[in-house]
């Protein structure tokens, strides 16, 4: 399933500059608020679901080449974080739903863990 479909079906808000998301196919997913766990566990080009919204999520997402970060419970990154994400070509998405809900919806949509 491509990222464009995920953004539309889960009604996610795009925080970074738009790209052609129909060409991006996430490889899987990972949910955690602890960055080192993400470093160890998130699949290359997967989607990461977290409550964290500070600048270091961009560094982690860029290093792991994640296809997107979904920030849950309306946690809002600072403008500088969004700017950094644009520079690093990291996609940040926002939702008011909880991490649990988003993971459930992604799984139901067919994006199961590897």
């Amino acid at each position: 399933m491509n990222l464009d479909k995920i953004i539309r079906e889960l009604d996610l808000k795009l925080l970074t500059d738009p790209q052609d998301y129909s060409q991006i196919v996430p490889s899987g997913g990972y949910a955690s608020d602890l960055l080192s766990c993400v470093m160890a566990g998130a699949p290359h080009q997967g989607i990461w679901i977290t409550l964290q919204s500070h600048a270091n999520i961009v560094a982690v997402a860029a290093l792991l080449e994640l296809s997107a970060v979904i920030i849950t419970e309306s946690a809002m990154p600072e403008p500088a974080v969004i700017e950094k994400a644009n520079r690093e070509h990291v996609t940040l998405l926002s939702t008011s739903a909880t991490t649990y809900t988003i993971v459930g919806k992604l799984w139901a949509a067919g994006l199961a863990a590897k």
């Binding site: 500059d17 738009p18 080192s36 766990c37 470093m39 290359h44 270091n56 860029a62 792991l64």
Partner: protein, 334 residues
């Protein structure tokens, strides 16, 4: 030119590279460079029947409506369907056109048009020149073709740059050549956390490193970098020595030092404060992550003196960097 691989389930590193480059190009290219210049336009006195005939003959699915070069509206398939459902083909084109369409300027970067395609869901954008006259029309197809043409041009330049870097060591004669990169890391500088590791990762890719190895190095160095930011008194230095068959990474600081090195290597053990943990650090996975990503890790620490972390990654023949057999084009699965 070589096309990026299209796969449904796995995006390769190579295709990601293409995607990234095409995004950059979307900022650099001007709409004028990719739009269709010779536009079939509908004059205000045409009736819808003429419009259908024009679409059919020109094999197009939409066109702007103009009066003496000035844009007054646009007719797309949706407008046409509306007209057909009313069985009203003899109506004036102006009756069914969408008036005052969203426009872009010839000098706008292509990214502006891409944003409009996404936000407004229109299929074509009339392009106006500096005087406000219709200069052309832009569809998503024009953008794709324009980007592909530009990619083809820049592909050769990037290939040459990569080729030079990936043969760095071949042109220099010595008994043992290496490239040393140094990064000063400031304590508590969370804003720049991860920038040294991402720079190193990029350098390795330029030198022709296997993407998987560049990623492993990136993760290990990120953890070392964050340790310097979180735990040290005065920050520290990351030094990376790149040789064709090994990468040696040193992260050194001058204090405070680790009390129990063995405990520090244990997954889940952390001395991070509550404040640091709230930022998502302090999972106690930093050093275990490093150990997982590199072939060899050595941690020495003296309280009051500082910590020396040495990591090594060995490269097999076909993984060598800066030499001709460096594989660049490998397809890596997640």
């Amino acid at each position: 030119m070589e096309q990026p691989e299209r796969q449904t389930s796995v995006i390769t590193d190579k295709s990601v590279e293409y995607i990234t480059r095409s995004e950059e190009l979307a900022y650099e290219l001007k709409i004028d460079e990719v739009m269709t210049h010779k536009v079939k336009s509908i004059s205000a006195d045409m009736i819808m029947r003429d419009v259908v005939e024009m679409f059919r003959q020109a094999r197009i699915s939409g066109a702007p409506v103009t009066v003496g070069g000035e844009l007054i509206g646009i007719i797309s398939m949706e407008d046409l369907i509306r007209c057909l459902s009313h069985n009203d083909l003899d109506a004036a084109a102006t009756k069914y056109m969408t008036p005052k369409p969203i426009t872009v300027k010839t000098t706008d970067p292509v990214i502006e048009a891409l944003k409009l395609f996404v936000s407004s869901r229109v299929g074509r954008l009339p392009v106006l020149d500096s005087e406000g006259n219709l200069a052309g029309i832009l569809t998503k197809g024009d953008v794709s073709r324009g980007l592909l043409r530009a990619l083809q041009r820049t592909y050769q330049e990037e290939e040459l740059r990569r080729y030079r870097a990936s043969h760095l060591f071949e042109d220099i004669e010595s008994d043992r050549s290496s490239l040393i990169l140094r990064y000063n890391i400031k304590a508590r500088d969370f804003t720049n956390g991860g920038s040294a590791s991402s720079h190193i990762k990029r350098a390795l890719l330029r030198l022709g490193a296997n993407p998987q190895i560049a990623r492993r190095c990136g993760i290990a160095i990120y953890e070392a970098e964050m340790n310097l930011i979180i735990h040290t008194t005065n920050g520290g230095i990351i030094r990376v020595e790149i040789e064709p068959h090994q990468i040696t990474i040193d992260a050194n600081d001058d204090g405070p030092g680790i009390k129990d090195v063995e405990l520090a290597m244990k997954p889940g053990f952390s001395t991070a404060t509550e404040e640091i943990r709230e930022l998502g650090f302090g999972a106690g996975m930093g050093l275990p992550n490093i150990a997982r990503c590199v072939d060899n890790v050595k941690l020495e620490s003296t309280i009051g003196k500082g910590t020396k972390l040495k990591m090594k990654i060995f490269l097999e023949n076909e993984e060598a960097v800066g030499e001709s057999h460096s594989p660049n084009q490998e397809t890596i699965k997640a």
